[in-house]
């Protein structure tokens, strides 16, 4: 049996119906644990495997690089010789590729940099404001600019969208100055990737035509997270004629409303494409009691597909006996809650801890939990996107790479100098180096290495020598990376330091980037891909994962703890204020729905009577789930 036949044979009839879909629009409404990602990857593999003599391409877009990597790995395993016909990525990476290839029509050079750091963007805005003689207090408009970009609004004439015409004028000026500064730095920020791709497609019909000609089938995972801007991009790309759009979504898992995700996008898709709909209600992940609780919970929402079938429990082998799958615990205070949960986790053997997650609505609760686990001697990590490295060593390495690609990048010089100063306890001023470079005409990297000179520290000397050689030959960046990695201090203690975390992160990043662009890609592309990705290290096998519910989407664990199930926490204070019928409350309910459906074997829900000293009622969601509340707080 081939890999594909094997994959196909494992599908249920409903999954197979979605997988075998060929032409025309399809909307797959799939609950948590229903195997939707499997449906998607198997469909990609099947489309390609069945047409070995064809050359059409298939694209599948999702929302995180990690999900995209997993999908690509799976497809490569099933159809290794057809894999180059599949473009698997995120919306951002897809837009990045489009702009690399066709951006010239809107003045974008293929080797653009991606500014993923807020600090880079803030600096850029500050400079743009100064250079244009604008009011320095207008730096506060960066968030406004992002909102405009997310709505795909270009700076020209954006003033008229503001009620206050004075503010509107100022935003337009600042936005224009910011965009001009990005252009002259040959850089794009995250929001620009989508906004500029949309601008390209909506200005030039020929570009969308190219994608319709080359890509015969389009697939979108986690479609419920699509923002207005992303949806309009898809629509503009498809035009009026393209129909082979396949979207997988769960309207009960929209938890990015604050970021622009909305049930409206699903409705627009239905209106614009008139897709056939297939539901995958069977849940193969959670024990039946969790499925039942999730069903009881989510029917309280109104903003969802009217004809949506309730989840069906499909899991057949259970680790624990009936009646033990959901545990509800009550504590007096949040401290007691954290301590008790930590103690409970400490009782679980090390080797199982990689399959334990503690989920909470807020980061503050996770931090308290992290401390409690640490005190209980349990290794844990808060999983969260990192835009940058943390150690001086890796900040220095990344800055050196960036400076080699863009020899005049002042911000990279600042990072490089700061990181190296921190590393070797030096006091070199990046201003002096920039001034020196202006006189000597050398690149900033070469000038910096010259300024460090030859000192007492052998390692510092070796690194500056490497940097000097590298600044003359930026194409040798892979060798440079290897040489620098060799010089980094090895892990000394049990507890992972920033360097260790960054090193682990770097290894996994390098693998992921290699998979995306190959081993012969240039430095510019390497940096583009690096900017797109989180610098967070993968969690080790013996560590407990702490996650906000938002980060937990798409993940699953054997043991899941959801803490802080109290009014004003989950549901949040704002949603309670907005009222039971509010969109905010529905979003909170979906948060709870997502949280409990992460559990493969065992779910522990907990709440305290007091949070931050204030008495709180148990979460209404506990009652909605039909659980019996404990009469008294546990010790």
């Amino acid at each position: 049996m081939t890999e594909l036949e094997k994959a196909l044979s494992e599908l249920t009839p409903a999954q197979a119906a979605a997988t075998n879909w060929v032409d025309g629009p399809l909307f797959v409404l799939a609950g948590p644990g229903s195997g939707k990602t499997r449906v998607l990857t198997t469909r990609v593999a099947k489309l390609l495997a069945e047409t070995p003599d064809k050359s059409f391409r298939v694209m599948a877009l999702t929302f995180t690089n990690k999900a995209a990597d997993e999908m690509a790995t799976r497809i490569e395993a099933v159809v290794p010789d057809q894999q180059q016909r599949a473009t698997i990525g995120t919306f951002h990476s897809f837009c990045m590729q489009m702009l690399q290839q066709h951006g010239s029509h809107i003045g974008i050079n293929p080797n653009f940099a991606i500014y993923s750091l807020e600090s880079d963007r803030a600096d850029l805005l500050k400079e743009a404001i100064r250079a244009n003689g604008l009011d320095s207090s207008d730096e506060r408009f960066l968030g406004t600019i992002d909102k405009l970009k997310a709505r795909l609004i270009q700076p020209e004439a954006c003033a008229k969208l503001f009620r206050d015409s004075d503010i509107g004028q100022r935003v337009e000026l600042v936005y224009s100055a910011y965009e001009a500064a990005l252009r002259s730095a040959n850089a794009l920020d995250f929001a620009s990737l989508i906004a500029q791709a949309y601008r390209l497609i909506s200005t030039f019909a020929g570009v969308a035509l190219h994608y319709r000609r080359a890509y015969a089938y389009w697939m979108f995972d986690e479609f419920q997270d699509t923002t207005d801007g992303q949806y309009r991009l898809i629509k503009a790309l498809a035009g009026d004629g393209f129909r082979n759009v396949f979207a997988v979504a769960d309207d009960d898992q929209i938890i990015y409303q604050w970021n622009g995700a909305s049930y409206k996008q699903i409705q627009r898709f239905r209106t614009d494409f008139n897709p056939t709909e297939i539901q995958l209600p069977t849940n193969y992940r959670c024990p039946p009691s969790i499925v039942a609780a999730a069903n009881r919970l989510v029917v309280h929402n109104t903003q969802r597909t009217a004809a949506k079938q309730p989840l069906e429990a499909g899991k057949t082998t259970l680790l624990y006996p009936d009646g033990q799958h959901i545990n509800l615990l009550r504590y007096s205070t949040e401290e007691a809650e954290a301590t008790a949960i930590a103690a409970g986790i400490a009782a679980i053997p090390d080797i199982k801890r990689g399959q334990i997650a503690v989920l909470a609505r807020t980061r503050a609760l996770l931090e308290r939990m992290n401390t409690a686990l640490l005190n209980a001697g349990v290794t844990a990590a808060i999983a969260q996107r990192r835009d940058d490295f943390r150690s001086a060593q890796f900040l220095w390495l990344a800055a050196a790479l960036r400076l080699a690609a863009r020899p005049g990048d002042r911000r990279a010089l600042d990072t490089l100098t700061g990181a190296f100063n921190r590393w070797f306890d030096l006091g070199i001023s990046s201003d002096d180096i920039a001034a020196g470079a202006e006189i000597s005409g050398r690149s900033l990297l070469a000038e910096w290495a010259g300024a460090i000179g030859f000192g007492e520290d052998n390692q510092a000397n070796a690194l500056t020598a490497l940097a000097t050689a590298f600044s003359a030959q930026p194409t040798t960046f892979r060798a440079f990376i290897d040489q620098v990695l060799e010089k980094l201090p090895a892990q000394e203690s049990e507890a992972a330091t920033d360097i260790d975390e960054d090193r682990t992160a770097w290894v996994s990043l390098a693998r992921s980037i290699g998979q995306a662009i190959g081993r012969d890609a240039g430095l510019d592309q390497f940096l583009q891909e690096l900017a797109l990705r989180s610098k967070e290290p993968p969690v080790s096998d013996d560590a407990v994962t702490l996650m906000t519910i938002h980060s937990a989407k798409g993940k699953e664990f054997d043991h899941v703890y959801v803490i802080g199930l109290a009014e004003d926490v989950l549901p949040s204070f704002q949603s309670v204020k907005a009222g039971e019928q509010s969109a905010e409350m529905e979003e909170e309910r979906r948060n709870c729905f997502v949280a409990i459906t992460r559990a493969r074997e065992w779910l522990c829900l907990s709440y305290a009577d007091r949070y931050r000293g204030w008495p709180k009622q148990p979460s209404r969601f506990l009652l909605e789930m039909g659980l019996n509340l404990p009469q008294a707080a546990s010790a």
């Binding site: 050359s55 391409r57 290839q101 066709h102 029509h105 020929g206 570009v207 080359a214 190959g518 240039g522």
Partner: protein, 637 residues
């Protein structure tokens, strides 16, 4: 799929050249002008080889000139190949899909194009010439991301395989078992296994019987077995004689083409036929290869690119004349160089590229249909374009103003005015001016049609000439040849084509053609009204008054005969007429003499020309305008 344009810089004799290519493009020009350099540039650019050092370029490929004597120092060799979809949908789906990552777009129409650049410069670190292949975007920047992956080249080249048949092709080599077409054709032949086994059995049996037939053969085999005792140690080997092939491939590899001229002649192997048949056979072999095997070896949608040098080699003129039709019908894109006027006979004018060497390296001239200028679409252009009656268009996808003919001054001025207020107005003006100047050389289809009709007979001759002398008729044709010889400027030796335009169309179109293709020219016409009109018609071709004054001359008299008489050549003329048996010559007055000579009905001009050739004093008495025209030719470059 077709190469639209090749741009070459710093390659051999070429400092910089841009050559537009069609389905069939014919390169003509003197030896060493750069024709082969163009063909080789295309071949090298489309045959990247991996992992092989030094393939592609050597130091002899770098263009050298007074300003650059060291091939290791200076700008790199650059060859850019641009292919473009003629209309959306021209390219097959497979191509569009397979090459999706390198395709560039006319973003308005969606027409696809691919731009590939190979550049090569000396690398001090590697101590070698390092070539670099890359795909470019429309701004000529290298593509990043997936477009920069090396796998794209294999795919791209598989759609555009290039084949080179050089002038020295040898049918013996081309029909060898390891050759590019014949060998590959033979190797694809599949003999069913049973037949193969049966053949081998029969070969073996027959071989044994033949060896047994004469003891000499058997003894020979035995004595040859001693080889192994010397050559190897230990295991004793064996030698045997083989008079028959070992297997069917052995047999097939010796297959050869036999050819019979006609029913009455014997069948003979190709190699026993004349050079012409052999040369021709190679081209038809290429055709068979393309038809039978190309899709299998490359892709169903592959477009073969054939670089073909001098297809006329060793061919009879009549065969050369019909050859162009065969070449044009070959599948794929053909770029052909030729030295044969006969081959040129049927080549459409717009497919011609005249290649010659100039002071700054190779120059390539052609007869384009349109001229393009990269300028932004300024609001002020719209009314000028609207009023141009189709002459002007704006190509929004490529951001180019398109001029489909000669741009008249008023429209040109309006375009200049429309640029006012733009930050880079000066640069736009420079580009507009260059495009306008180029457009003034436009030769319209009607002219080329006329040339096809009237001048087919002389096109071979004139396109292989160095300079053109335009005269009205047959008499002048004779006279200029004779006079020039006496003036020590033999027209044939100096490659001057004398065009008697009155019999071959009109002079205006010849002068326009000469300018567009870069042929230096001069013209001499009669002093009558017709002559004045001829000069006016030249003026009407966008020549400046200074150029008209420099290159055109009118003889003082009404006609050449009037002028000869006016120049006091009556005695010579009368003698010639008398010798030709014209009655009453002696009594003729000037008017009668002129009447007798007019139209050269009596062929006097040939005789007078012969006398001129033999006598410089006589030539010096001939009409001044003609002598001046010859002197002008001598000075033209």
């Amino acid at each position: 799929m077709q190469i639209k344009r090749v741009t070459i810089a710093n390659f051999r004799s070429i400092k910089r050249a841009e050559i537009e290519l069609g389905a069939t493009t014919v390169l003509i020009g003197p030896n060493n002008a750069g024709k082969t350099a163009i063909l080789e540039a295309i071949r090298i650019a489309l045959t990247r080889r991996w992992g092989l050092r030094g393939t592609g370029f050597t130091e002899y490929d770098v263009h050298l000139c007074a300003a650059r004597t060291d091939p290791k120092v200076g700008d790199p060799v650059v060859i850019e190949i641009e292919i473009q979809e003629a209309a959306v949908g021209e390219w097959p789906e497979e191509l569009h899909e397979t090459l999706a990552d390198i395709i560039q777009l006319n973003p308005v129409s969606g027409q696809a194009s691919i731009i590939m650049r190979v550049s090569c410069a000396w690398d001090d670190g590697e101590q070698s010439y390092i070539p670099k292949w890359e795909f470019l975007n429309t701004d000529r920047n290298p593509l990043a991301g997936k477009g920069a992956r090396a796998t794209n080249f294999q795919e791209f080249f598989s759609f555009l395989p290039v084949f080179y048949l050089d002038a020295l092709r040898d049918a013996g080599d081309e029909f060898a078992a390891r050759s590019q077409f014949w060998g590959r054709l033979l190797r694809t032949v599949q003999i069913p296994d049973p037949l193969e086994q049966k053949s081998v059995r029969i070969f073996n049996l027959l071989n044994a019987k033949l060896l047994a037939a004469d003891p000499l053969l058997g003894n020979l085999a035995t004595s040859l077995s001693d080889i192994s005792r010397v050559a190897t140690t230990g295991t004793p080997g064996q030698a045997n004689l083989r008079v028959l092939p070992l297997n069917t491939w052995d047999l097939l590899s010796k297959a050869e083409v036999i050819y019979q001229n006609d029913d009455t002649k014997p069948w003979l192997p190709l190699m026993r036929h004349g050079q012409g048949v052999q040369s021709l056979s190679v081209m038809f072999l290429f055709r068979s290869f393309v038809e039978l095997l190309l899709g299998e070896l490359y892709r169903a949608d592959s477009t073969p690119v054939l670089a073909l040098e001098e297809p006329e080699t060793h061919l009879h003129p009549q065969a050369a004349r019909s050859l162009f039709g065969h070449v044009a019908q070959l599948q794929g894109q053909k770029i052909v160089s030729t030295h044969s006027p006969y081959f040129l006979h049927h080549v459409p004018f717009r497919d011609l590229r005249v290649v010659r060497s100039g002071p700054d390296g190779t120059i390539v001239k052609s007869l384009p249909r349109e001229f393009r200028c990269r300028v932004p679409n300024l609001p002020g252009f719209a009314p000028v374009i609207a009023a141009s009656g189709g002459l002007l268009e704006y190509d929004g996808g490529l951001s180019e103003l398109v001029i489909k003919g000669s741009l008249p001054t008023p429209a040109y001025n309006s375009l200049l005015v429309a640029c006012q207020g733009q930050a880079d107005m000066a640069a736009m003006h420079v580009r507009l001016r260059a495009a306008r100047d180029a457009s003034l050389e436009f030769v319209p289809d009607e002219d080329l049609q006329k040339l096809e009709t009237f001048a087919r007979r002389i096109r071979g001759e004139i396109f292989f000439a160095n300079k053109w002398l335009l005269v009205e008729g047959q008499s002048e044709h004779h006279l200029v040849h004779g006079m020039a010889r006496a003036m020590d400027f033999d027209l044939d030796e100096h490659g001057v084509a004398v065009i008697d335009f009155a019999n071959n169309g009109n002079c205006g179109m010849f002068t326009a053609l000469a300018r567009a293709l870069g042929f230096p020219w001069t013209m001499v016409v009669d002093g009558d009204l017709a002559g004045t009109q001829y000069i006016a018609s030249v003026q009407g071709r966008n020549f400046s008054p200074a150029e008209v004054a420099q290159f055109t001359r009118q003889i003082a008299g009404q006609t050449i005969e009037h002028q000869l008489v006016a120049d006091g050549l009556q005695p010579e003329l009368k003698a010639i007429l008398a010798a030709q048996g014209v009655p009453g010559v002696a009594a003729m007055d000037d008017a009668a003499l002129i009447a007798a000579l007019s139209g050269d009905k009596c062929g006097y001009a040939a005789e007078l020309a012969a006398q001129c050739a033999a006598s410089l004093p006589l030539t010096q008495r001939m009409p001044l305008a003609i002598r001046e025209a010859i002197e002008t030719l001598r000075g033209l470059e």
